[in-house]
Assembly symmetry: C2
Homo-oligomer: 104 residues x 2
Amino acid sequence: MKKEHKHLTSFKSHLDQQYGQRGTIIREEYEEGFEAFKLGAMLQDLRKEQGLTQEQLALKCGTTKTYISRIENNASDIRLSTLMRIIHEGLGGHLKFKVDILLK
Amino acid sequence: MKKEHKHLTSFKSHLDQQYGQRGTIIREEYEEGFEAFKLGAMLQDLRKEQGLTQEQLALKCGTTKTYISRIENNASDIRLSTLMRIIHEGLGGHLKFKVDILLK
DNA sequence: ATCAAAGTTAGCTAATTAGGTAACATTTTG
DNA sequence: CAAAATGTTACCTAATTAGCTAACTTTGAT
């Protein structure tokens, strides 16, 4: 496999522990890395947790598997509105931002 | 004033309490709202906390006060890369995402 | 090994952001 | 009030995303 998704396994086991409970909130936090921007990995993880194919996800949020693939592989920048649409309509999720600033 | 920034005051007082400390991390969390998307308000708050004008901020991150104004007033969608540039280079901050999903 | 499903890549086009300049409006300061 | 600083809006252009189709590749199942 070309790509590695570091926190997939740990997150997966966490999911497994909670599996069966209803109404459980998954919180997947993505911290922007120093080198590369791996939003794609987060989206791919979330999609797989829900057992969706790229095509199924694409259908839910009105795009194509082609585009989902590009996003997951960080092949393109992405608009905020598009990111939110994928998370909302595609994954049924809720996006939050946090900004940390070190005061001088 | 046309716009209101609800959490500016509370955040401001919190800042005032901590003022003078060095190395303190401000965590401004923005929860995407139901109705409208107020990323602009968050960015404006953060800018003002640092005592920057739109023009000063624009200089630091290689854009114009015109553009900063448009973003703060949610007059335009924004690319992720641009958002990150403003937060990094303009505000010296660090952006994090979180996705909450309610399991079915 | 073969077939089908899933994922990736390549073009092209249309829609939208980002950059630039200038004019206008609002707020602050003296 | 007057002047300066700050912020907003308008318009245009260039760069980039998003959408679309099709071909190619990889993975998984039988």
